[in-house]
C-alpha cells in the first residue's frame, strides 16, 4: 500500500489543500485540511510604536482592513486607559457599519450566490458572479457595484483614505464629519437598506423556495452542534463594534460572557502534528478532539454564531428577518452551517439600518472626537467582530508605548476546528462506495467550507487569480483518484 504523508513542514503553496483518503471499499477513511497561515507577525511588530498598529495591522488583510484597524484602535484605547468620546465611538461604528455592507454584499454575490443561484452542479464557467448576474439581472448587478461603491465612499470620507483608513486613535478618531457628508451618508444608508431587502428576497426566491436547497440546509451532512461565539451589546443584541464576547452552547444556554481583557481565561489553542494551523477552543470545556456537542470545547465564530449567541438584532427590519429565520429553521440555536449565508444577509440588513441610525444621531457631526490619553501604556486588548469571526488584538508595550509582545486571533482562526469538521463530515457523507466522484460532488464538499469564508486573501491575490483550494482524493493504494484544483 502506498503511504502518503501529510508533512506540514514541506513548502506550503499559496493555496489551501483538502486531502481525502479512501478505504478499500471507496468510503472515506480520513480527511485533512491545510490552509496557509501568515507567519511572523509577532516578531514583525516587536519594537514598533503601538499607535501605528491600526495602520500596520490593516495591511494584514486586503479584504477586511477596516476590521483590523478597528480592533487595533480599541486595543489602543485599552492600552492607554482612555475612554473614547461618544461621538468618536459613533463615528467608528458608522464607518464599521458601512464596511459590513460592502463586505457582506461582496461575499454573497461572489461566493455564496453562485452555489445557490446557479446550483452546485452548474458548470464552473457559470458558477461565479457573471452567472449570478446573468440570472438575477443586470439591474441588480449594477446595484451590487453601486452599493459597494457608495459605502466605500463612506469609508473613505469618514476614515480619511480609501480602503486603508487613517482614522483610529487612542481615545477617539482623527476627523469629524460635516453636515454635507452626513446627509450623503444618510441617503446611501437608505439605499443600502433597500438593497439588503432585495438581496434577502433573492435568497428567499432562489434558496428557501427551492426544496432541494432547503433540504440541503437542514440536512445532517451540513449540521454541526458546536458552541457559538459573538459580540453582544448590553441588551445581548448583535453588535459588530463593541460589547462583550458571549458564548452560547449548542443547547441554547449562555456558557460565558467575557470582557476583552479576560479572553485568555476562556480561549486556549490546540496544536496538531499534521498542520501548521492552531485550533482555538473553550478552555473551560476542554479539548475533546474534532467533535461537536456540549462536551467539546470547539466553538464557531461566524455570522450564524453571532445570531445564535445573541438574543436578537438591535434594529427592527433585521429583527423581523432574524425571527423569520429561526422560525423556518425550527428554533434557536440553528446548527445548520449553510444557514450562515442567510445569517450573513440578516447582518447586511442590520448593518444598513445601523448606518442609517448613526447617520441621524444628533452627535454624529460633533467636533468632540477625541479624549487625549494621559496614562502610561502597558497592556491592551481590543475585540471587534470581523465579518469572518471574532477578532482579538492584544498588545503589551513598555512605558513609551513600544510593542514588546502582540497576539492576534483573527476571525478565521476561531473556526479552524469547525471548518475542518464540516469538510470532514461532508466528505464522509458524500463520497460513498460506488458513487461516482464528480465535480458537482466535490463542489458540495466545498459548500461545506464556503459559509466560513476563510481568510486566505493575502495568499491569493497573486495573478492570474488562483483559487486557493485543491481537493485531492487518494484510493486505499495511495493512487490519486481525482484532483480538483481550480485556477492552478
Amino acid at each position: 500500500m502506498k503511504r502518503i504523508t501529510i508533512d506540514p513542514i514541506t513548502r506550503l503553496e499559496g493555496h489551501g489543500k483538502i486531502t481525502i483518503f479512501l478505504n478499500e471499499d471507496g468510503s472515506v477513511a480520513n480527511t485533512y485540511l491545510q490552509i496557509p497561515e501568515l507567519r511572523g507577525f509577532e516578531k514583525f511588530s516587536e519594537g514598533r510604536i503601538a499607535e501605528d498598529m491600526p495602520q500596520i495591522t490593516q495591511r494584514i488583510c486586503g479584504v477586511c482592513p477596516e476590521a483590523h484597524h478597528m480592533a487595533a484602535t480599541k486595543a489602543l484605547d485599552d492600552l492607554f486607559h482612555v475612554e473614547p468620546t461618544s461621538t468618536a465611538k459613533k463615528l467608528r461604528e458608522l464607518l464599521y457599519s458601512a464596511f459590513y455592507v460592502t463586505d457582506h454584499t461582496t461575499h454573497f454575490y461572489i461566493l455564496a450566490g453562485p452555489d445557490f443561484v446557479m446550483g452546485p452542479d452548474a458548470a464552473p464557467a457559470e458558477r461565479n458572479i457573471l452567472g449570478v448576474i446573468a440570472k438575477v439581472g443586470l439591474e441588480l448587478g449594477g446595484a451590487v457595484i453601486n452599493t459597494r461603491k457608495q459605502n466605500h465612499w463612506i469609508i473613505q470620507t469618514v476614515g480619511g483614505r480609501p480602503i486603508h483608513p487613517c482614522f483610529g486613535l487612542p481615545g477617539g478618531v482623527s476627523r469629524a464629519i460635516n453636515e454635507e457628508e452626513r446627509a450623503k451618508i444618510e441617503e446611501i444608508a437608505k439605499g443600502s437598506i433597500e438593497f439588503a431587502k432585495l438581496t434577502l428576497k433573492v435568497f428567499d426566491d432562489v434558496v428557501l423556495k427551492n426544496k432541494t436547497y432547503l433540504d440541503m440546509i437542514l440536512s445532517d451532512t451540513f449540521t454541526q452542534k458546536s458552541y457559538n461565539m459573538g459580540l453582544v451589546d448590553k441588551n445581548n443584541k448583535v453588535n459588530f463594534y463593541d460589547g462583550k464576547v458571549r458564548v452560547v452552547g449548542p443547547d441554547g444556554k449562555e456558557f460565558c460572557k467575557y470582557a476583552p481583557r479576560e479572553y485568555l481565561e476562556h480561549i486556549a489553542e490546540r496544536v496538531e502534528p499534521w498542520t501548521y494551523l492552531k485550533f482555538p477552543y473553550l478552555k473551560k470545556v476542554g479539548w475533546k478532539g474534532f467533535v461537536d456537542g456540549k462536551d467539546s470545547g470547539v466553538y464557531r465564530a461566524t455570522p450564524l454564531s453571532r445570531l445564535n449567541a445573541a438574543d436578537g438584532m438591535a434594529t427592527p427590519l433585521a429583527q423581523e428577518e432574524y425571527e423569520r429565520m429561526y422560525s423556518t429553521l425550527g428554533g434557536k440555536p440553528a446548527n445548520y452551517t449553510l444557514a450562515t449565508h442567510w445569517a450573513r444577509l440578516i447582518e447586511l440588513l442590520y448593518a444598513a439600518e445601523r448606518l442609517l441610525e448613526l447617520s441621524r444621531d444628533p452627535e454624529i457631526t460633533s467636533p468632540n472626537i477625541r479624549n487625549i490619553p494621559t496614562a502610561t501604556p502597558d497592556e491592551g486588548v481590543g475585540i471587534v467582530e470581523a465579518p469572518r469571526g471574532t477578532l482579538t488584538h492584544h498588545y503589551i508595550t513598555d512605558g513609551k508605548g513600544v510593542i514588546k509582545k502582540c497576539n492576534l486571533i483573527v476571525g478565521t482562526t476561531n473556526n479552524h476546528a469547525p471548518l475542518f469538521m464540516s469538510i470532514k463530515k461532508a466528505a464522509k457523507d458524500l463520497i460513498k462506495p460506488g458513487v461516482k466522484i464528480t465535480e458537482g460532488l466535490l463542489n458540495r464538499i466545498e459548500m461545506a467550507w464556503r459559509p466560513y469564508d476563510p481568510c486566505m486573501s493575502c495568499a491569493t491575490h497573486a495573478l492570474p487569480g488562483q483559487l486557493p483550494l485543491e481537493v485531492t482524493i487518494y484510493d486505499a493504494q495511495g493512487n490519486e483518484v481525482k484532483k480538483l484544483s481550480q485556477g492552478i
Binding site: 514583525f44 461566493l111 480602503i163 497573486a462
Partner: protein, 151 residues
Amino acid sequence: MKTLVLGIGNPILSDDGAGIKVAHEAGGKLNDPQVTVAETSAAGLSLLDSIVGYDKVIIIDAIQTEKGRAGQIYRMGIEDFSLTKHFSSPHQINLATALELGKMLNLAMPQEITVFAVEAKDITSFSEKCTPEVEQAIPEVVKMVLQELDA
C-alpha cells in the same frame, strides 16, 4: 490617453509587496499629467473600481506559478488569463472576471490592459523587504513599465 499604472500587493508580506514597490519607483520617474500612478492592496471587485474610466491600464503584481523561478518577470495581456476568468476566489474575483463583469454592466472599461508580474518566493512571512531574487527584479520591471508607457 488617460493611463493608470497600478501596483497591487501587500507591502508587509515580503514578495507580495513587489507590485507596490515597482509602482512607487516608476511613479518617482514619471511626470506625465495623463498618467496616474497608484498603489492598492485591493483585489477583485475593488480592482474594478480602480480601473474604470482609464483608457490604458498597466498592472504590476506578484505571482506564483507552478514552475516559475523567483524573480522571473512575465508580461501578460488580457488574453493570457481568459482561461482563469471562470473561477472565483474565496473572497474576491480575479482580474479577468472583474473585467468581464465591468463589460457586462457597461462600465467605462479600459481598452488596453497590460500586466507585469514578478514570480514571488515568499508571500506568507511578514516583512517589509522582498527576498533578494525579487528585489533584484524590481528595477527591471520598472524599466519595462516605463517602456510600455512610451510605446
